[in-house]
């Protein structure tokens, strides 16, 4: 187990370095931040001065080396757009993104799993068919379109919910939360539904497929033969065994939700990391882009690592296989 963990950890570091390097090389093509920091009416002397003061006159491999060295010390430089330390900006934005992603993931689990079970058990009822058709829409409609539809209906027509922002937030130490105020909760509804749409449908379809698979197996037949109630068979035996893939997918989805909250955050002006990144791209704000991509890489790598570990714990077969392999 320990060897396994260490090996995975080393791989993760390599992945991180690769992410950092690729990201950094790409940024050289996003353009010249100086051109955007100064108005077109600026003089050449102004431009040179700013370029020099930003360290952009160095060759790009030197810039990368400096970036890695400082990054290891938690110093990602100063945002060219906002003029503040990048690490501080990311820490400020992290809670917004995490709260949104977690709520969306929770929606996925709390709605997706029951719907999946329902559609698996009552395959032929019309409700199941409605759910399945609806889920097709959820998988195929792009995120921003769902968001804009929701805004149109609930903000413009009905006027129930805000169309943008995060409402009032409460500061608890470093963490700013929108869970404690009414306007914060209100503001969370539409973005969370938008972002949660895909995981809901995904988890529903996954649970349904797995459940149908399991219900056909012999041990379920035996369970029925033993005279167990439907409830015990479905939830005690069948569902438990469908959960292994659900854990993996939910874990990977969580990473995806954090990373791809970008679009939802832009549509709803949700002040999270995704919005920060989008604006950084438009401004060619290299320090923010680099730090963000590294952070997202880090989140993905650690979630993957955790899911692997969790697998190991949940699925006894993995342990047995490895033990017998090791014995040879």
């Amino acid at each position: 187990m320990l060897a396994f963990a260490i090996r995975r950890l080393l791989q993760s570091v390599l992945v991180m370095l690769a992410v950092g390097f690729i990201a950094f090389s790409l940024f050289n093509f996003t353009g010249d931040p100086v051109a955007l920091m100064l108005p077109p009416e600026a003089t050449q002397a102004d431009r040179d001065e700013v370029r020099k003061s930003l360290g952009l006159d160095e060759p790009s491999y030197v810039q990368f080396a400096i970036f890695v060295k400082n990054g290891l010390q938690g110093n990602f430089g100063i945002s060219l757009r906002l003029g503040r330390p990048v690490s501080q900006l990311l820490i400020e934005r992290l809670p917004a993104t995490l709260e949104l992603a977690m709520t969306a993931a929770l929606l996925g689990l709390l709605i997706g799993i029951p719907m999946g079970i329902f559609t698996a058990l009552k395959r032929d009822s019309w409700t199941s068919k409605v759910f399945l058709t609806g889920s097709l829409i959820g998988v195929s409609l792009p995120n921003f379109l769902i968001g804009i539809f929701l805004i149109l209906i609930f903000a413009v027509w009905l006027g129930w919910l805000p169309s943008f922002g995060r409402g009032d937030v409460t500061q608890i130490g470093y963490w700013s939360t929108g869970f404690l105020t009414q306007s914060g909760l209100k503001a969370l509804v539409l973005p969370a539904i938008t972002l949660g749409f895909y995981p809901v449908t995904l988890i529903m379809r996954l649970v349904r497929a797995e459940m149908l698979e399991v219900l056909r197996t012999d041990y379920i037949k035996f369970a029925r033969a033993r005279g167990l109630t439907n409830h015990a068979v479905h939830f005690g035996h069948a569902l438990k065994n469908t959960l292994v893939p659900v854990i993996t997918i939910t874990g990977l989805q969580l990473g995806g939700l954090i990373a791809f909250a970008i679009i939802t955050e832009t549509v709803f002006q949700w002040p999270g990391m995704g919005l920060l990144f989008i604006q950084a791209v438009q401004f060619a704000d290299i320090p923010v882009m680099a730090a963000y991509l590294c952070l997202i890489g880090f989140i993905f790598v650690s979630i993957n690592l955790m899911v692997d570990m969790l697998y190991y714990v949940v699925d006894p077969r993995l342990r047995v296989d490895r033990a017998t392999l090791g014995g040879h």
């Binding site: 003061s53 100063i78 709605i111």
Partner: protein, 538 residues
């Protein structure tokens, strides 16, 4: 074992809770005498430091908080600001008599020391606002309310420049270690990039980058009795990046004012009974320019010579552009065609120089044939990837192709566009130029003077490297002429020369729409900055 029935009912409960709490919230009623203006635009100010970045989104906040020695009235005429009056005791000196009893937002008094300090801060190498004090070498305190500016070179229109010169409290800056503008390389954020202390009509109460900036009216503002004063007591400046969301927020009444409604929505907004549109001309000209320097163009089928150095070819291009079609189709009516490189209202603007070549395709073809290109040639037109320039380029490319100049539009992301132009890596391009000082000199010097390399600001943005000794001579005269009448004459001549030479080919002046709820009254300002102290909310 997990009890799923419980889980299911819990999730239903949670969902109802969320929804019900959401549905029952009502907006807290504000006291009757506070008038809150909720303002949205797509950009958030980058910094609050008044001398660090010269960017419009930043200027939109800074202009509410910091003031200059001079101000501009509703019609953009220069009027006294923090200076009561001024004079030129000699050619190298400007003397300013300061307004007494003015206080900064923190209560400290405004004196000559603050002016001297602000000038030093503006002239600091890290400052990007040096153009606001063009020609000034240093400042000298005469007494507490008198300051002399010592000039290193003459600037007859110093006041036009000074409008952007912001005065910061010296005591406050030294107390908070903000004596210099922000330095990006030192990895520090200065106090002044997040906090403000000016003398203006509003002070910054809260600043959350990319979320909101809250301004409150300054009850002790020296100019509170102004006739132009509105009634807004608090402003929430909200950045909303997505066009659709910004418009949805305006339509739903969550915000009162949108600075930058998307062009395609303006017609629909005008039909909405709850929305008012205020339109005005921005002091900006969109124009084409040509590589008139190289012996062979970088991006053209013509080899061995440069067709754009032939006046007849440039004239043909002028005749080929149907500016009214661009106005109607691309700009949706939101532009005024122009032949002048400076907009009306600019010091020195000349009606005579504001004439376009008429749209005449036959004439254009004839000129091309005369120039030796009966079958035309191909060329690349560069433009920025923002709107509307990208659409304008598409349209103009089609128009030029019709007279035989087969034009390929090359749309470049903004972050790359300026660096491309600065390397002169272009044959033919579209750009826009703001008359930020409301004087013609800056435009003429930057766009039409011979490009003199990195040594001076002459021809700084003349990326086609047009050069005419006559033009350079006129610009040199304009630079130091204090007799305004004579000076306007020189400017008129230079503008006419631009028109005759087709040094640049001006296209139009954009019309900017502001969208607001019916209960808001706002005056359009030609620099596209909303001055909140003039806003009224009914």
């Amino acid at each position: 074992m997990i009890n799923f029935r419980k889980l299911l009912s819990a999730s239903v409960l949670l969902a109802t809770l969320l929804l019900s709490s959401a549905a029952t919230v009502s907006t807290a009623a504000a006291p009757a005498n506070t008038k809150i203006l909720r303002y949205a635009s797509q950009d958030d100010p980058q910094t609050l430091d008044p001398h660090s970045a010269n960017l419009t989104p930043t200027n939109r906040v800074i202009s509410q908080v910091y003031e200059s020695l001079v101000a501009r009235d509703k019609d953009f005429k220069i009027i006294p600001g923090l200076a009561l009056w001024w004079s030129n005791p000699d050619a190298k000196t400007w003397r300013f008599k300061l307004r007494p009893n003015v206080k900064f937002h923190d209560g400290s008094p405004f004196t000559a020391d603050d002016v001297v300090f602000s000038l030093e801060r503006t002239l600091h190498p890290l400052s990007q606002l040096k153009s606001s004090v063009q020609g000034v070498a240093s400042a000298r305190k005469i007494d507490d309310l008198t300051v002399d500016f010592v000039m290193k070179e003459p600037n007859p229109v110093l006041l036009n420049h000074l409008y952007q010169f912001r005065i910061m409290s010296k005591i406050w800056a030294s107390k908070n270690n903000a004596l210099t503008p922000q330095n990006y390389k030192s990895n520090e954020d200065t106090f002044a990039s997040r906090n403000t202390n000016g003398t203006g009509p509003f002070s910054v109460k809260l600043r959350q980058p990319d979320v909101k900036t809250v301004l409150v009216a300054n009850a002790d503002w020296w100019n509170n009795a102004s006739k132009e004063k509105g009634n807004v007591t608090q402003v929430e400046m909200l950045p909303i990046k997505s066009n659709a969301t910004r418009m949805a927020a305006l339509l739903s009444g969550e915000i009162d004012f949108v600075l930058d409604p998307p062009q395609q929505d303006v017609a629909r907004l005008k039909a909405d009974p709850n929305i008012r549109i205020a339109e005005g001309h921005e002091a900006r000209i969109q124009y084409f320019a040509f590589d008139q320097f190289r012996d062979e163009l970088l991006y053209s089928s013509v080899k061995g010579k440069n067709p754009l150095r032939d006046l007849r070819v440039r004239q043909a291009m002028g005749y080929a552009i149907d500016v009214n079609a661009i106005r109607q189709v691309v700009m949706r009516g939101l532009s005024t065609p122009t032949g002048s490189i400076v907009p009306p209202g600019t010091q020195g603007y000349s009606k005579e120089a504001d004439k376009r070549l008429p749209f005449d395709r036959e004439k254009a073809k004839a000129l091309l044939t005369e120039a030796g290109y009966p079958t035309g040639f191909s060329i690349t037109l560069d433009c920025g990837a923002n709107q509307p320039p990208a659409d304008i380029c598409q349209a103009v490319a089609a128009m030029l192709t019709q007279i035989g100049i087969r034009t390929t539009p090359n749309i470049v992301p903004l972050a790359n566009y300026f660096s491309k132009l600065q390397k002169f890596d272009t044959s033919f391009y579209l750009l826009s130029w703001g008359a930020t000082t409301f004087d013609s000199f800056y435009t003429l010097q930057a766009l039409l003077n011979t490009n003199s390399g990195e040594q001076s600001s002459n021809g700084d943005s003349n990326y086609g490297r047009y050069s005419n000794p006559k033009m350079d001579e006129l610009i040199g005269k304009i630079k130091s002429e204090f007799d305004m009448k004579k000076r306007d004459g020189w400017i008129g001549e230079a503008l006419l020369l631009n028109q005759r030479d087709i040094a640049t080919l001006p296209l139009h002046q954009p019309v900017i729409p502001w969208a607001m709820r019916k209960n808001i009254e706002a005056n359009f300002a030609p620099n596209n900055i909303a001055y909140f102290f003039r806003f009224k909310k009914n």
